[in-house]
Symmetry: C2
Subunit: 152 residues, 2 copies
DNA sequence: GCTATACTGGATGTCAACATCCACTTTGTA
DNA sequence: TACAAAGTGGATGTTGACATCCAGTATAGC
């Protein structure tokens, strides 16, 4: 249902959100998120074009979030790499239905709308702050972990 | 978000649900639903294997619904051609998370769950009976239209 | 200014989804 | 029984998503 690319982009963004203290290189991100590094490089370019991350070349460079993790939603990430295609016109190309979907496609679009909404309402910060589940992404190496790492 | 194959399968099933009086040939279905006939043939095979339709060879043959349209859900159709892949284990393959998804994947799976639920709760009959919208699929040729075609 | 580091963009390869074609089998009807 | 209609299964072609590689460019640090 979700493409690999979306999955990769989300992993990378969650990782960056969790480690905002310094830029992370593509290689670092790839290692932790287990994404093929060469491909991740393309994904990061897309995220950069989508203005979700900022790229810094040269020594000590890498990627950082372009804005606070509270202001980046799952939907932002998804849309940056592979925009959610809502069904706006009947896929059969019926001119008569350009503004009014048939019942079938209305249902399908409703489902997409629900998903889109759920994604729009969840920020990276929220994902990281998840109260009940303790693990941030999945296999992050133990965080620097300052003594008072509340909710980690 | 939805594959072409799912789209095709749904169109075909809605058409069959709307025309249950006699078997419909692959060619008939293809013409109305605007699906490539050769490919539709494969899709119909999948629906047949999924026991959603019954195939009848020979003269006057074709496909019919395997059971009443009230008993076939959108989800049944989707699952017949391309099962919804819920996220049950962490895609990163972390053994520690086999039963407990990390927050990110939990959210993604939640979204899938919502969609799955919506699909499970909608039958083909309901799609066809849609009260407010008058058009069955999109480009069905004018139905035989018996005067009192009560919800079929 | 040099150099090592790290992102960028383009060319290329691989594979699964989408799509087509055709020989074969089944079956209703004359 | 013969034939035409219609689904079946397998081989094959096409295309886009996924993935890799590398030459080029920008930049921090010396």
């Amino acid at each position: 249902m979700f493409s690999q690319t979306v999955e990769y982009a989300l992993r990378a963004m969650v990782f960056l959100a969790d480690r905002q203290d310094a830029p992370r290189t593509t290689e670092q991100i790839a290692r932790v998120t287990k994404v093929p590094v060469a491909y991740l490089s393309k994904v990061m370019q897309a995220l950069n074009r989508g203005e979700l991350v900022v790229a810094q070349r040269g020594v000590r460079g890498g990627f950082r979030l372009a804005r606070s993790s509270e202001k980046i939603t799952i939907l932002d990430v998804v849309n940056a790499v592979e925009p959610v295609q809502r069904i706006r016109t009947c896929p059969l190309g019926l001119s008569a239905h350009s503004h009014r979907l048939c019942p079938l496609h209305k249902r399908m679009d409703d489902a997409l709308a629900v998903m889109e909404r759920a994604f729009r309402e969840t920020t990276l910060a929220e994902v990281l702050a998840e109260p009940t589940t303790s693990i941030p992404l999945c296999d992050f190496p133990p965080r620097p972990k300052r003594a008072k790492s509340q909710a980690t």
